[in-house]
């Protein structure tokens, strides 16, 4: 590739201000003697200037407000999901705590022997009963707390 052809490949980058210092020096040296490259560089520079001067397109009406509203709606939905997950976890913990406490009290009041003295059959019955009680407790509490979620939603 001749020097002239090599310089021609640099002209678009020169117009974009993307040449390194050494390349720029080589270009300037070549342009002193080459009107063709100088004219071509000017063409690219005119294109670049025209691009830089294109007016900003008008924004759609109320774009900022609609974008903000969409984001806040998403945040509210995300908050509600996390709130629901947290409530469910708390209810489950509450349910298990209640059933364990009830079981312990029952054992104590009925004189059912040591607290850790149980058979496999009674263990299965205990697990089944406490699971059912835990879900019933959680479900009832979720229903009772349902209106509270609406209050949270309105606040947001």
């Amino acid at each position: 590739m001749s020097e002239h052809e090599a310089i021609r490949t640099l002209l678009p980058l020169a117009a974009a201000g993307a040449l390194g210092a050494e390349e720029q020096r080589g270009l300037e040296s070549h342009l002193r003697d080459c009107n063709l490259c100088a004219a071509e560089l000017q063409t690219y520079q005119l294109i670049g200037q025209a691009l830089a001067r294109t007016p900003l397109p008008p924004l759609p009406e109320r774009l900022l407000e609609r974008t903000r509203a969409r984001i806040l709606r998403q945040e509210a939905a995300r908050f509600e999901r996390r709130w629901s997950d947290m409530i469910l976890a708390c209810l489950m913990l509450f349910g298990w705590t209640v059933t364990l406490t009830v079981w312990l009290l029952w054992r104590v009041m009925t004189g059912g022997g040591g607290l850790l003295d149980f058979s496999l059959r009674s263990m299965a019955m205990w697990l089944g009963g406490t699971t059912l009680l835990a879900w019933l407790t959680a479900g009832a509490a979720a229903i009772l707390l349902g209106p509270g979620r609406g209050l949270v939603r309105r606040y947001l």
């Binding site: 980058l13 993307a18 294109i47 830089a52 294109t54 759609p60 774009l63 945040e75």
Partner: protein, 199 residues
């Protein structure tokens, strides 16, 4: 066009505090940040996807993603380049779904540099008035592949440095320079070939 160099340090500190408040999910900071970047971001998306409705939707999706992932933003990185890279990913997904176009590869019919050696000389363009020139350039820009529209918009309209463009497009600096060169060659050829570009 406002350049970073022209912004006072106090303003930069204000920008930093806005970002910090945005990380704490302050809605007022959200409004301020969107206001600061809305024109440029919308223009970038419009140039890439060429559809105002799609550009608007992508604009909103970009800010949704930014708000969602703001805690993952590295303050050592320019917020603007991070913002534009988020927008770019969404634009890529849009183009792949809606159009057989990509921001990763030029079209199969893309112009090769060898085809441009015999392109019209500068005399055709020099004869145009400046306003007509800008309109012509803009109209021709819309006809180029997305990958060329993007790099030309980022360099000349958004006035990003090459390193910033490399950051936004997640490509090496050499690739950015190559794309910039090919895009200007393609734009020049398209202008010369258009009826309005001829004397």
């Amino acid at each position: 066009m406002i350049s970073v160099a022209a912004i006072e340090p106090e303003v930069l500190l204000g920008v930093d505090s806005e970002i910090e408040r945005l990380r704490r999910r302050d809605p007022d900071a959200l409004t301020a940040v969107i206001t600061r970047h809305q024109y440029r971001l919308y223009r970038y998306l419009l140039r890439v996807v060429r559809d105002p409705a799609a550009a608007e939707d992508l604009f909103q999706q970009t800010w949704l993603k930014v708000f969602e992932k703001i805690r993952q933003y590295d303050p050592a990185r320019s917020f603007e380049t991070w913002l534009f890279s988020v927008a770019r990913h969404l634009a890529i997904d849009h183009l792949r779904r809606k159009q057989p176009e990509s921001l990763d590869e030029p079209r199969a019919g893309g112009t090769r540099a060898a085809d441009l050696v015999a392109a019209d000389g500068p005399s055709a363009l020099e004869q145009l008035l400046e306003s007509e020139r800008a309109n012509l350039v803009l109209a021709t820009l819309q006809e180029l592949p997305a990958i060329y529209r993007e790099v030309l918009t980022l360099r000349f309209e958004e006035e990003m440095k090459l390193e910033e463009i490399a950051d936004v497009t997640e490509t090496p600096l050499g690739t950015v320079k190559s794309r910039l060169r090919r895009s200007l060659l393609a734009l020049r050829e398209s202008i010369a070939a258009s009826p309005r570009g001829r004397p």
